[in-house]
Symmetry: C2
Subunit: 138 residues, 2 copies
């Protein structure tokens, strides 16, 4: 995701207004490394600016995803997670606490043998337990 000021410019170019609510979402996402849900983003935003509706947060997140500035991750953990890191990378998902971490794996071999299919993207999800949740080995 670009910087808040670059996003400001981008939104203006698209004919979209730069409102305080949108700027607050920009900042909340920018300073996040934990793949927040819409609810988390909303919590972060309302901490600084109450009365911002969850509906509006969803709108902004969808706008940003539509512009390719963030990615929406469907990890099968209930709510979607939003990722401001759009560089090629993959994820470690803790099946206990739900935390999501970035991981950079060697490029996945695209199945050339998969005739009859044009691959656009590949995503790898590793599931397991983070250190906080790993069973204690006495």
């Amino acid at each position: 995701m670009r910087t808040p000021s670059e996003l400001t410019q981008l939104f203006r170019e698209q004919g979209l207004k730069v409102t305080p609510q949108r700027e607050a979402v920009f900042r909340a996402l920018g300073g996040s490394v934990d793949h927040p849900t819409a609810e988390s983003v909303h919590a972060a935003v309302t901490a600084e600016m109450p009365n911002v509706s969850l509906r509006t947060v969803y709108q902004v997140l969808n706008d940003l995803a539509g512009m390719g500035e963030i990615h929406a991750l469907e990890l099968g953990t209930g709510a979607a997670r939003f990722d401001p890191n759009v560089d090629t990378h993959h994820h470690l998902v803790c099946t206990v606490c739900g935390k999501v971490r970035d991981v950079y794996v060697d490029p996945v071999a695209v199945p050339v043998s998969a005739l009859g299919f044009t691959v656009d993207s590949a995503e790898v999800v590793f599931r397991g337990r983070c250190d906080d949740c790993a069973p204690v080995l006495h």
Copy 2:
């Protein structure tokens, strides 16, 4: 997934009754290669045996998944897909028509560098377009 008759035995061992409804789900799954949704399984079952409720189909699918006989795939396409193939493999998902195909890729390099995380499983999802949905190149 094992054969219907093996599943019959397994269910009996678990103290579960082998009802016609359960057998119908066994058969519907066994003869499927397209990763059906619960709704699809229900449709296949009611074709032979009307009055089987969707609720019951969900029950049987969850039972089978609990026993590790099938896998529930959360591919971010709305409904869960159920997979009777529990051998290690991965998936091609058509972003146009939603079809899901199996693909066997070289073992994904587990990120040894991911210190502080114990990996239990890795799943790879390739998204793209199947031949039926690929744009026609004149």
